[in-house]
Amino acid sequence: MPNDTIIFASIFGGCALGALLATVLKGKAMRVAWAGFGCLASIAMLALGVGGVFAESARHIPLWTVPHVGPVSFSVDHLSGFFLIVTALVAIPAMIFAAATTSDEKARKTPLAPLSLVLLASVALVILAADVFLFIVAWEVMSILIYLLACGGPKERPGYLMLAVGETGTLAVLVALLLLGSHAGSLSFQAIQASSAGLSATLVEVVFALTFLGFGVKAGLIPLNFWLPEAYTAIPSPIMPFVAGATLNLGLYGIMRSNMYFLPTTFAGPGVCMLLVGAVTALIGILYATIADDFKTLLAHSSIENAGIITTAFGAGMIFLSAGHKAAAAMALIAALYHLLNHSIFKTLLFMGAGTLERSANTRSLDEMGGLLKRMPWTGLFVLVGALSISAMPPFNGFVSEWLTIESLLRSVELSSMGLKMVFVAAGAAIMLTAGLAVTCFVRAFAMSFLGISRSEKAANASETNRAALSTMAAVAVICFVLGVVPTFAIPALDRVVAPVAGASGSTALVPTFFHPDTDKLPKKFTAEFHDLGAQIGKDAIPARGMVVMHRGGKKNPVVFAMSTPYMFVMLVVLLAALVLIVRLATKNRKVSRRPRWDGGVRRFLPEMTYTATGFAQPVRVLFEAIFRPKVSDRRESIAQHFRMSIQRKREEIHLIDRLILYPLAKATKAVAAVFAKMHNGRINAYAVYALLALIIFLAIAAAL
């Protein structure tokens, strides 16, 4: 292990130097500095993270003592190690992608390179911070940097909205952490963690509510997620993959950190809350993603959906933990972490694709795309991989983690409380519906952009992006594939993060001992039968256990849920190859003649005559009209009262959260402000009465105390 100084110097010094050089340099040199120092910092983070995950215990690195605040320090434990790895895996390709796709003109207009490198450093700082002071400072730096990125666009609203909501969240988090700190008598995380057992139930509830609300803002959980689609759309495309892949996680990091370490794990309440909020967030997220026309907005809503899924799995884990089902808890937590990892990876890939589409086709509107696969075959392939991953299709990574999530939700049958079971059923149903809609959503996203014929001039003139950008996309796509085919490599590592908290090894739970022939706990005959499932055969064919298995029930009647992604992949390849071979052989002597498509005999089939993305989503719109509640107004124009010349339809869809929470809140605030405004009538005697009233109230309170 290289020593800490070198590593920290590489991360923070690298980012700082990179930012400096990128500001000074221009053109290609700037790109090289940006990508190079970004990668250097990321690789250092990767090393630090791997060290953290595989170390036996947490490592504390005291830094210095700030006057009036106390000592500040870094710490690398399993959880922060895991998040460092995720951030690094995202940052390496994302930084190269950003450097490769930022045009000189754009770089001149907004200092993307320095901002992104400082952002990377601040993300590392948030993860490494081991006390309240440093954590809040890092958190604020990160928020401001994202605000600056979001303000680079033509509109200021997204940035302000994000900052306003974000600050509310930070305030809530700060209050919660200070409450914990005052209870522990110290602001260091170590002390807070140590004193967690002694927290009163009320304090746990208050702290949970504040942290969940506050971190939920960054994670995109309802109700405070309305800033996210707007900000994601406003942030420049080159840097968006990194922002989407790394910063959303920090909200989840906060939630996990506070619930796994700061708060006692004996209460079911927080878990239930997270389970339900997560499930509702997921469903609402995917519904709005399915009808979105803007590709980036679609991906933003899908990020909300995935944050919801992760929170659901995490909440399930916390419930299992509070109920004492350690193995189940470990599995659910592994599912949450694995989905978090996967989501970061494929969302980075998809935002790279969206950025490339925006750059090449000069539009983000799916309605205006179409037929791009012919012009951008490679981008198309990688976006397809991303879409398959996010739709949970084997052999890609989304499949594994969503399968694990749903399987762990199904384990609620082990719980004894009927109420909890019902909560799980509701959440499970929402997650299943979400998974189904996700397929619709991304079939639409891919088909409407890449398939068919171009529906606009811009799309017809699109061209493939540069090789550097393509190769980063290729790398991320490969990660999606690897994580999807051999999850059995990743799961033991995640288990290291989870096991200390859950008090049980998820790995062991996932791959039960009776798959080992040397075990003598079970009759040989029984294990021999299970050999055919392939747990052991895998050892010869693929250098890993090829199967993810879950089991429950007693030793005599084990119920096994198994899923083997490597074999699934092998079978997929074999079957497809066989199919191709059979078709080839069967049609060897046939002449294939290709004819133009049948279009009903119209003289020329025009792009206007093909389905648009809006049209494709219309069934979902109609089906969930109760949620979308669109306001439709038609205006019909006629000449001389009867020549129908145009029908204009305006369709206003106010987001559910805006409609139910934000707008009433804004209205109430305005009403209160109006009342206060009335009081400011400028008459001296009225003010004297106010002063008198205030004095009386003050005195009354003082007397009561």
């Binding site: 026309d293 309605d367 279009d599 009903g600 005999g601 119209v602 003289r603 020329r604 089939f605 025009l606 206007e608 005559m609 093909t610 389905y611 648009t612 993305a613 809006t614 049209g615 494709f616 989503a617 219309q618 069934p619 109609v622 038609d634 000449i639 001389a640 009867h642 020549f643 129908r644 010349m645 145009s646 029908i647 204009q648 339809r649 369709r651």
Partner: protein, 523 residues
């Protein structure tokens, strides 16, 4: 014609010259170009005249005849306006009388006339994406040998699109679609699921019948007139014959008049059964479709057995009919028709008790009465909307006045109302046929017609509504100009009224309940 109307028109256009035909009672108002629209509006809005057609003639001058049909037996009026041949600009009448819309578009396409104020000219009969600009086929100078349309559509041509909604698109249907549909192209403007507006792009089947008959004898023209719309051949042949007979001031034998009623009603009976069959099929009611198909085939066989032709081709003659029928044959046919009607009654009884069938018809494709009036809709479609116009009643021709015909209608204007009108009308048709057989006078059924120079027109209530045929003959007894204003042309114009904001799966049903013919429209 009432006096206050004359006064009103005199006020609108003081220079109007009024000419009344003594024999038929038709009135012609010769107006200047500027006041023509106002005069037309006065007829249509204040005096309950229905626009029937526009006849453009290229003679020594441009002559435009806007034909109107009123509610009295002699209630036909023509508003005529003239302009020198080198001046092709006219005031658009359709701005004030909307029913003239398509007629003016047709005149623009085929003659190159310009109608000032008409907002939508071009791409109508001659498709703009392939047709050569400036070639006007109905003009005298037109040479058929000139290359007319290219096979490759013009680049940059875009279909008309009126719906402006983000993500909206056109769902194209046809021209070759469905199993055995006539060739017509529909543009369904939609955002998915719901169709916001649908309009037909017609005239894929335009054969230029009106041009082909020019320079032919009336007898030869009759062949084409009864074959351009085969499913209503007799009615059109009758309208054409009547126009020529009116021009020749010929008297038709009484027996021929009665037999013409019989044949016209037989045709209506069969055509309505065919429409009912199409409605059943469009709703996916298989047994109902089969049962009504049996009835249609029976009606066809009765026609074939009686007249020698299943579609009544070759029966109408200028001056009567080409053949007579003996009493036994007529009675046999009548018995057959009565049997079919009984069967149809039983089928109707089943249909109105099939809720799945009614659900798909009720409130589908509804047209309000005032819209029907505005678009001058005709036939069962108009009568189902409460617009009770039937030439057999208002301007009885042949022997309808002696048969005591009364029209039937409904008020809802939806698909179900149209279906009921069809059923009531086939009952009336059989009643008429019975009256004819009971009161058929003896005598010849044909008397030769001597041709005369000039122009005349006649209207006939075909199964789909009022058709107006205009004929001008030259001194050699050849046709100089023939205009076929058909009910399908009129009703296709109003089709979009029934096709706004509907679910996609209702489209075939709306189409079927209209019972339109593309061939009759395209000519």
């Amino acid at each position: 014609m009432s006096d206050d109307m004359m006064e009103q028109i005199k006020k609108l256009c003081p220079k109007t010259r009024v000419k009344t035909d003594k024999r038929s009672g038709d009135v012609e108002f010769l107006c200047d170009r500027a006041s023509t629209p106002r005069v037309c509006q006065c007829l249509a809005e204040d005096h309950d005249f229905q626009f029937a057609g526009l006849v453009v003639e290229e003679r020594k001058e441009w002559e435009l005849n806007y034909i109107f049909s009123g509610v009295t037996p002699n209630g036909r009026a023509v508003v005529k306006t003239k302009a020198p041949l080198d001046d092709r600009e006219f005031e658009s009448v359709s701005v004030l009388v909307h029913a003239a819309d398509w007629h003016e578009r047709e005149a623009e396409d085929l003659f190159g006339l310009v109608f000032k104020g008409h907002p939508r000219l071009g791409d109508f009969i001659l498709h703009d994406d392939v047709w050569q600009e400036g070639v006007e086929p109905m003009r005298r100078a037109f040479k058929p040998e000139t290359a007319l349309s290219s096979r490759e559509p013009r680049d940059g041509w875009r279909p008309r699109k009126i719906v402006d909604v983000p993500g909206g698109f056109i769902m194209p249907i046809g021209p070759v679609f469905s199993g055995d549909a006539e060739s017509v192209h529909f543009q369904l403007e939609t955002i998915g699921e719901e169709v916001m507006y649908a309009f037909p792009r017609l005239f894929f089947k335009y054969r230029g019948v009106e041009k082909i008959v020019e320079g032919r004898s009336a007898e030869d023209a009759l062949l084409l007139v009864e074959r351009f719309a085969g499913t209503t051949a007799f009615s059109h042949a009758l309208a054409f014959s009547m126009a020529v007979e009116r021009l020749a001031k010929a008297d038709i034998p009484e027996r021929a008049k009665f037999l013409r009623v019989f044949l016209a009603e037989l045709e209506r009976f069969r055509s309505h059964l065919s429409t009912i069959n199409a409605i059943c099929a469009s709703t996916g009611l298989a047994v109902g479709a089969s049962q009504t198909a049996i009835l249609e085939e029976k009606a066809l066989r009765i026609s074939g057995a009686l007249t020698g032709h299943r579609y009544l081709f070759g029966l109408a003659a200028l001056g009567g009919l080409t053949r007579d029928f003996d009493k036994i044959a007529l009675h046999t046919a009548l018995d057959g028709v009565a049997d079919v009607l009984d069967e149809a009654g039983r089928v109707e009884n089943l249909l109105v008790n099939t809720s799945s069938f009614l659900d798909r018809l009720e409130e589908v494709g509804a047209i309000e009465r005032d819209q029907a009036v505005l678009h001058g809709l005709v036939g069962p479609v108009a009568r189902a909307s409460g617009y009770l116009r039937d030439l057999r009643e208002t301007q009885p021709y042949a022997a309808y006045d002696k048969c005591g015909f009364k029209s039937v209608g409904e008020v809802e204007g939806d698909g179900y109302a149209r279906l009921r009108v069809l059923f009531r009308e086939i009952e009336r048709s059989v009643e008429m046929m019975k009256r004819v057989v009971a009161e058929l006078p003896d005598g010849p059924c044909y008397s030769p017609v001597s041709f005369a120079k000039g122009a005349a027109f006649a209207g006939v209530e075909t199964p789909r509504g009022a058709a107006w045929h205009w004929v001008r003959m030259d001194k050699n007894g050849k046709i100089e100009r023939c205009r076929l204003a058909t009910p399908s042309f009129t009703n296709w114009h109003g089709f979009h009224l029934a096709a706004e904001n509907f679910a996609f799966q209702d489209f075939p049903i709306i189409l079927a309940t209209f019972g339109l013919s593309v061939a009759e429209n395209d000519r």
